[in-house]
Amino acid sequence: MSLLELHGICKSFGAIQALTDVSLEVEPGEVVGLMGDNGAGKSTLVKIVAGNFPPTSGTSAVDGRPVEFHRPVDARSIGIEVVYQELALADNLTAAANVFLGRELRRRFGPFGFLDHRAMNRRASALFAELKSETRAGDLVRQMSGGQRQAVAIARTRLAQARLILMDEPTAAISVRQVAEVLDLIRRLRDSGIAIILISHRMPDVFAVADRVVVLRRGRKVADKPVASSSPEEVTGLITGALEAA
């Protein structure tokens, strides 16, 4: 049974048809590369899955059970997390503080709840160790490399025990060495059974980690096939419209 099943998803904003009849299935432990040109509908699709807004028509199911998301919390509560392009980290806080932002661990003293710094740091360190990232829980995010920031953002989703992680351009604007680090992170998440939808413009990254590649063009799904039976040339053609469909 598929972890996530989208069927016939359409989304229009006024006169603009952003998505037309998109269906998609994601299995546990599967990495799906979602590709398409700017305005192809990738972000809209991600926002529907993440619960930012509901589709105009179409159905979604998780574990075969129909679901309807109206707010991000709805998606989060059944294990769908998003790692945003701009990472959504507060620079002036430590890695641990960012991992736990919005769900701080507290110790209670009567009616008051005080932050349990030690427990949060310990748990965050454990998550970073799990991700084999050289990120220290007590370091300020401001002083971190792009790869370490990704690790912090991903650790957040691990904390939530995510089952499906949507990653929006995780390898944009970071160095080559850091890209390798992030791709490793994605593989480790996959190995622990987490499904990932990877939105990327970078062909080599998608072909390096994805099991399947899905191409959107002008709001329609034009391809959905195993990476092994496709090629960067074919995908480029599909994105630009040189190839009608595959």
Partner: protein
């Protein structure tokens, strides 16, 4: 590499650096300044003068604590000086208005009613500021510039420009609390220290305090991760107004009467104290120790100039220089850290 002083760091609570480095730098400047002035003027280090200084900067310091909270969220509150005045005016007028009430028979009850009402008014102003800024997305600068003018204007309207003498059934209790001493320490200073400690605990040991820093660091990130950004911001503007109002009430006790132009122009000194102490107007940094030390530094300069027989007209010029110097030090320190 770990930074020596950061806003949120794992440490046992008693080693927690509420003194961020800027506060430490300014503290060092304060110590040097105190040493220099005491050489110039033998009157400076007398108990009487030190008590005088500590009382004077307590009012600015308390209001500065509130403004620091606002500045950490990348906001600004210009209305604090006017809120000090309006709260003090309303509280003193209520003292007189309630003198004939049966509640006057119970010692302290009139005081409690009037102070609560005054602070409720301050909280109302803060709520208006907060809702306009957090919910409607108005600029903090313009919004609080508006409430600055509204509150100051209302103060003049209510008093018709005249001063209000503090008098009423509980006036002796009022003076004991606002202008007394405990173990030889002026009560305004004690209030300042108590509020500063409370604020340190709030900022660094509670989730709400962490949200204040998170909003200042990256508001979008905070809201994406489920931080109740709007409620935190409103609460911060309410806290700022409450602290300003409380400082105004303390000033009423100190002066014995409230002139309609009480605390006129204080917002600049209050914000200067916060900034000198390391609150960053672009958000994400600042703390109670900085606000207290910044306020102390400004007052020591003022007092020192008077004792050194320098023309009082130089005070503002020097305070301005100190502000720019403090921001420069802050910038250099940041550059070295990164």
């Amino acid at each position: 590499m770990t930074t020596e002083f950061s806003n949120v760091r794992q440490r046992p609570w008693y080693l927690h650096p509420h003194l961020n480095s800027q506060a430490l730098y300014v503290f060092a400047a304060l110590v040097i300044l105190v040493a220099a002035i005491s050489v110039v003027s033998s009157a400076f280090l007398t108990t009487g003068n030190l008590l005088n200084i500590s009382k004077n900067f307590a009012y600015i310091g308390i209001a500065s604590l509130g403004v620091t909270l606002v500045i950490i969220t990348a906001g600004i509150d210009l209305s604090v000086g006017s809120v000090m005045a309006l709260t003090a005016i309303v509280t003193s007028l209520l003292f007189r208005a309630t003198a004939e009430w049966p509640t006057a028979a119970v010692p302290g009850l009139t005081l409690a009613i009037c102070v609560t009402a005054g602070l409720a008014l301050a909280a109302f102003v803060g709520t208006v500021n907060g809702l306009l800024i957090a919910r409607l997305g108005l600029s903090p600068f313009v919004t609080t510039l508006g409430t600055l003018s509204i509150c100051r204007g209302l103060g003049y309207v209510i008093t018709e420009g005249r001063g209000v003498i503090v008098t009423g059934p509980d006036v002796s209790i009022f003076y004991a609390i606002t202008d007394g001493t405990l173990l030889g320490i002026p009560t305004p200073l004690l209030f300042l220290l108590a509020l500063a400690v409370w604020m340190g605990v709030f900022l660094h040991q509670t989730a709400w305090g962490r949200y204040v820093f998170a909003i200042g660091g990256n508001e979008r990130a905070a809201s994406l991760t489920g931080v109740p950004v709007e409620r935190v911001k409103v609460s911060i503007y309410v806290a700022s107004s409450l602290m300003a109002g409380f400082a105004g009430i303390l000033m009423a006790g100190w002066l014995g009467s409230v002139p309609a132009n009480l605390a006129f122009g204080y917002e600049l000194r209050i914000i200067a104290a916060a900034v000198i102490g390391g609150a960053n107007l672009s958000g994400g940094a600042g703390g109670p120790a900085g606000a207290v030390i910044g306020a102390a530094l400004i007052e020591v300069i003022r007092n020192g100039l008077v004792l050194s027989r320098v023309s009082a007209y130089w005070q503002d010029t020097l305070v301005g220089l100190i502000i720019i110097l403090a921001v420069l030090v802050d910038r250099l320190r940041e550059r070295r850290a990164s």
